[in-house]
Symmetry: C2
Subunit: 343 residues, 2 copies
């Protein structure tokens, strides 16, 4: 059995979308066992509408819910909340292997650091989404928002964390790693990125291809794009905004005239294919890398299929052995020797 915790109260569509997603995930994978944390009555009301294997789903009643307006460092103290209660269980119980939440990003990061804890040697956890690229694969962007301020050693660790994810989650044997900058030349960027460039090119086990630009994320020049959390967040959200605008314009234009509506009938399948290739939520959200267990942060606006995808992805990464892989790579790289200031 793979036991996964699901924060049933996180996100704009909770608990309905979360519970429906959990039910769908259970159906797709007979090895799964899910523990939903949240307001029991609300979760049960939602479950009453569904059919599922009751032997593989459990509810832990948590009266408290953390929302987007709560200050993360305060929220972490609320042990009765669906998110923090899940973190405490994940920490204490060896047979629980992952947590999926669509709740507050800040609270998820702080809870991960303070309750669950980091893998030995990891300075900071990092958020890492899998972005579809034009080669038909994905590009992992790490960090995309957990750390607005970074040091070179952190960026070097992001390379290790995301390379492990690329190997375990996507079967990429030797992931190519690029450093997000404002140009491809070695001297580009500020001192943080120039210094990181130097270290990344010396790191054992990291296949560093040099600086990459924002456009390369979706063009799929490399498998992993390392970034400070400030720029990474801007890149991710710029891409999201562009995708949203393009789909909006398309929708408007394709229904503007009778002629285009007729065309749409012929093209429905092509458009569906297109949308699925551009689906940012195919893997359910961003992995919060560097923690002792697997944590996936799904988008606040997650729908049932997003949550189902996040649970499936968490199970797959657990089966692949993400955490041991990170530990092994960190050991091999020996960052303490390579990068002087490892404070």
């Amino acid at each position: 059995m793979i036991k996964i915790l699901v924060d049933a109260m996180g996100g704009d569509n909770a608990p309905a979308a979360i519970v429906q997603g959990a039910v769908a995930a259970l159906k797709n994978d007979e090895e799964l066992y899910l523990i939903l944390t949240g307001r029991q009555a609300e979760i049960e009301a939602e479950l009453a509408k569904a059919e599922y294997d009751k032997a593989r789903l459990e509810i832990v009643d948590c009266p408290d819910v953390i929302d987007m307006n709560d200050i993360p460092t305060e929220a972490v103290k609320r042990k009765q909340s669906s998110l923090m209660a899940a973190y405490w269980m994940l920490k204490k119980e060896d047979d629980l292997c992952a947590l999926v939440t669509a709740g507050s990003t800040g609270a998820t990061i702080v809870g991960g650091q303070l309750i669950l804890g980091r893998i030995r040697g990891v300075k900071r956890p990092a958020l890492c989404p899998a972005i579809p690229n034009s080669r038909g694969g994905v590009t992992l962007l790490c960090d995309c928002g957990a750390n607005a301020e970074c040091k070179p050693v952190m960026l070097c660790q992001f390379a290790v964390l995301a390379s492990s994810y690329a190997k375990v989650g996507f079967g990429i044997k030797q992931p190519k790693v690029g450093l997000l900058s404002n140009g491809t030349e070695e001297h580009k960027g500020d001192p943080l990125h120039q210094e990181t460039y130097k270290y990344l090119s010396q790191m054992k086990g990291i296949d560093f291809v040099g600086n990459v630009e924002g456009r390369d994320i979706m063009l799929g020049i490399c498998d992993v794009v390392v970034s400070d959390g400030f720029s990474g967040n801007i890149a991710l959200k710029s891409i999201e905004g562009c995708g949203k605008m393009v789909l909006g314009v398309m929708k408007k234009e394709f229904s503007a005239t009778l002629r285009s509506k007729v065309g749409y009938l012929f093209m429905r399948k092509a458009i569906k294919n297109m949308r699925s290739q551009l689906d940012f939520d195919r893997y359910g959200g961003a992995l919060l890398l560097g923690l002792k267990k697997i944590v996936i942060k799904s988008h606040g606006s997650s729908k049932p299929h997003t949550i189902a995808a996040a649970i499936a992805n968490a199970a797959a990464i657990y089966r692949g052995g993400l955490v041991p892989s990170v530990e092994k790579m960190l050991e091999k790289v020996d960052l303490d020797t390579l990068v002087p200031e490892t404070d």
Copy 2:
């Protein structure tokens, strides 16, 4: 007459695309007078294929061409190059009002600073493209790559520069200004952005709406997005990459089956409309703001219509009085009093 210099040798498709663009621009605006700098024989060979008003086009022979591999600070010394010769003329001759180039970004910035010079009080020039947004207008992103390292005072000036451009270039009376960050809350970002937030909210004549995220650029939440050049470049290129990927996937899917090909015939006009709404080059390129005269940096891959658009945009901004508008706004804001460290 509005006299504009055009670097005929800059960009991947020079001189053919540049010369064709110049000819198109001349046809569209009878008040224009263009001076093309570059290798005379090559330009003349291209002009021989076109019909145009010879009384309004002049060539200045420049044997030297700066390319993307040249180091900008070295390139600026090459007075015989099509770009630097143009800058020298722009500096010396009062009746020349603008320069359009699709050449090296770095050389364009350095030439602008060292040869043409900044408007009195401007710390650093900034690159500012007009990005189409989902409200049907544009969002000005400033800076998108001229300054990888910034201080708060520079970011505050970018707000002034781009607000002037919004007024003069797009007729927006009171441009809304956002600060690009990794979240909308006031405390988001690193110390640079936190400090800039504080000053921007106190600036006279600037309608500051607070922090904005990457997605807001294309969603058109505000007219001006202020950014350090590092993150701004990443945002711009992430958007470009996403746009390129979406159009690529669309092209593939829409021609994948007979059915979708038939649909395409019906939808041709809708798709054309869509593409034009997503055309990043509608205004010909990024304005290099803060210099004593108008300089537009077009994309290296510019086609004739891009260059024609850049020339038309330069003329429009000149007519609107961009430089006097910037001078007036800078005076009103009085940054030296507002921001302590104005080194």
